[in-house]
């Protein structure tokens, strides 16, 4: 490292052109994309997600192809369950990290010192994360579907893209992954600690449905459709209407989960804007 020359211009000439407009969302979006794509954890997490999503589809469909099918088989669901059940957990980690890593490294102070409009920063982070995640998960859900159906086609169990509900399932199983990531992003903004936020979201996804099963059967039946995870995720990967009539339709359950995410995102935004950084 050499000692740099000191800039010594007597009359100051501006080294940076003046801002043509007040820095806002467009710049913040570019910045957040650079941030997300310039750390290795993003790539490792997304790679793990792709492997889990496609891996599960291959294993599940190969197993079904060799063992045969039972009564209520849904070929679309068989290829997409992995993305929804396992992939979502990995994206939860990424969604939390996008914001909690700013706190664990102290970067948040630098970020806010260059972009003091906190709402803009918060929104930009969420939008970039959602866009990157949805892009990848859309690719994997199509890959899952085609690879899965190709395996199942050896026994002629396969579904085709043109069948009713199939495209919806592919799209929703990609979108739900993003929604869970945003849930974790909101939790990350509230808790500001990676492990804490991830644990909280996994607890919500797994523990609440589990605890709810201890309720009297009639209550559980009424409640199940509102639970943030577990069986209520099933219709999303399913192309046919749910077998369990206690659940909403695919879009209905998707709306329920999105509602949870919206609430956490809103609380996170409120705290992000108000709290000392």
């Amino acid at each position: 490292m050499t000692t740099a020359a000191i800039p010594a211009t007597p009359a100051r000439t501006r080294a940076v052109p003046p801002a043509s407009s007040r820095p806002g969302l467009p710049g913040a979006l570019r910045s957040e994309l650079t941030k997300m794509l310039s750390v290795r954890s993003t790539y490792w997490t997304l790679l793990a997600f792709v492997a889990a999503s496609i891996g599960w589809a291959v294993l599940d469909c190969a197993g079904i192809a060799s063992h045969g099918i039972g009564g209520a088989f849904n070929a679309t669901e068989a290829s997409l369950t992995g993305q929804v059940a396992l992939g979502e957990l990995i994206i939860v980690v990424l969604g939390a990290l996008v914001i909690t890593s700013e706190y664990s490294t102290g970067m948040i102070r630098t970020s806010l010192a260059v972009m003091p409009r906190r709402g803009v920063l918060y929104a930009a982070k969420a939008i970039v994360f959602a866009a990157v995640t949805l892009t990848i998960s859309l690719v994997t859900s199509f890959v899952d579907f085609f690879v899965g159906q190709a395996i199942l086609s050896s026994k002629h169990y396969n579904a085709t893209l043109g069948q009713p509900g199939v495209l919806r399932s592919i799209f929703l199983s990609a979108a739900i992954v993003m929604v869970f990531g945003l849930l974790a992003y909101g939790a990350g903004a509230i808790i500001r600690h990676s492990a804490g936020a991830i644990t909280a979201i996994l607890g919500v996804i797994f523990l609440i449905p589990l605890l709810a099963q201890a309720l009297p059967n009639a209550w559980f039946a009424d409640l199940q459709r509102w639970l943030p995870g577990g069986g209520a995720l099933e219709p999303i990967a399913r192309s046919a209407p749910p077998i369990d009539h206690n659940l909403f339709s695919a879009w209905g359950e998707f709306a329920v989960f999105s509602g949870y995410a919206a609430v956490l995102l809103a609380i996170g935004a409120w705290l992000f804007i108000r709290r000392d950084a």
Partner: protein, 303 residues
């Protein structure tokens, strides 16, 4: 220009910053001094809008930080050199900051050149030494070519060459007409750097004056003397409002009086002096004297 008016910050039942009012003016280096825990960093965090004041207000160029048109073009700050994502390269770190305020890429290369990090710009900052991290933080502060610059303890952990470099940089930034506000808990660092001092202790303003005035202050005057008649000199010095201290080598230091005054006293009282010299009290000593009551955690005071 930074203006604080009645700035206060309370954490629980602890008042970290207590009714601070000061103005940091352009064209000079203003040292922000105080013992550790005096509230310097908290004050800087409030200037940057990171923390909300409990009472009072602080503005930069007449506006609250969050209301600035383009924050990076007006204020550049280095609060904590390690407050970066260590997994990101120095270049990408600076790029993602520049992008928020639509600062062109060539300026990123420029500031990397100014701080001399060309060779490691592509490397992840995790492996940077403290000195390199400080340079990266300074590069970030310079990105928007701002009129106001703030550095929190910028020379902490630097080698002499690095300290000299930062000193020259701060002086040249001030010479360009910028406002330079730099905190330190070490007076000695400010001696050759700052033009003006704002001294705080326990969150309260202790002094706000030019450096020269700070050392020329009555309490900071002193003289070194040698005399065979310690006893009598002590009497007359004390009577004149001074204080006599015994040095290690058997010589005496008179505090609170100038060498001229001591010489005059000796003559009128007929005391023989073997040696008399004005002793320049360092900023460090003046600072210690001023902040002695406000040091928050005194080693001996632990119960």
């Amino acid at each position: 220009m930074i203006e604080a008016r009645g700035l206060s910050k309370r954490y629980g039942d602890k008042l970290a910053v207590d009714d601070l009012s000061f103005t940091v003016r352009p064209g000079r280096v203003t040292g922000f001094l105080g013992p550790n825990g005096a509230g310097k960093t908290t004050t800087m965090r409030m200037i940057l809008g990171l923390d909300r004041p409990t009472a009072g207000s602080v503005t930069v160029n007449g506006k609250p930080f969050a209301a600035l048109y383009s924050a990076m073009r007006e204020v550049g700050a280095l609060l904590d050199a390690k407050a970066v994502h260590g997994g990101r390269s120095a270049y990408k770190h600076l790029l993602c900051l520049a992008e928020t305020n639509a600062i062109p890429r060539r300026r990123v290369d420029e500031v990397i050149g100014i701080v001399g990090l060309e060779d490691v710009a592509g490397k992840r900052s995790k492996g940077f030494s403290l000195g390199m991290s400080q340079r990266l933080g300074i590069a970030a502060a310079l990105l928007g070519d701002p009129d106001v610059l703030m550095f929190d303890e910028p020379v902490n952990g630097l080698d002499p060459e690095g300290i000299r470099w930062i000193r020259l940089l701060m002086r040249s930034l001030a010479a360009e007409g910028r406002t330079v506000f730099v905190s330190s808990h070490l007076m000695s660092e400010m001696e050759n750097t700052a033009d003006h001092l704002i001294v705080i202790g326990r969150g309260k303003l202790i002094a706000d004056c030019p450096v020269a005035e700070f050392t020329a202050d009555g309490t900071a005057q002193a003289a070194t003397v040698k005399t065979p008649d310690d006893q009598r000199l002590a009497e007359v010095v004390t009577a004149a409002g001074g204080r006599l201290e015994r040095g290690e080598a058997g010589d005496l230091t008179v505090r609170g009086l100038s060498a001229e005054q001591v010489g005059g006293l000796a003559l009128t009282n007929g005391i023989l002096l073997h040696y008399l010299a004005p002793s320049r009290v360092s900023l460090e000593e003046a600072f210690m004297e001023l902040t002695a009551d406000s040091v928050e955690y005194q080693a001996k005071a632990r119960a």
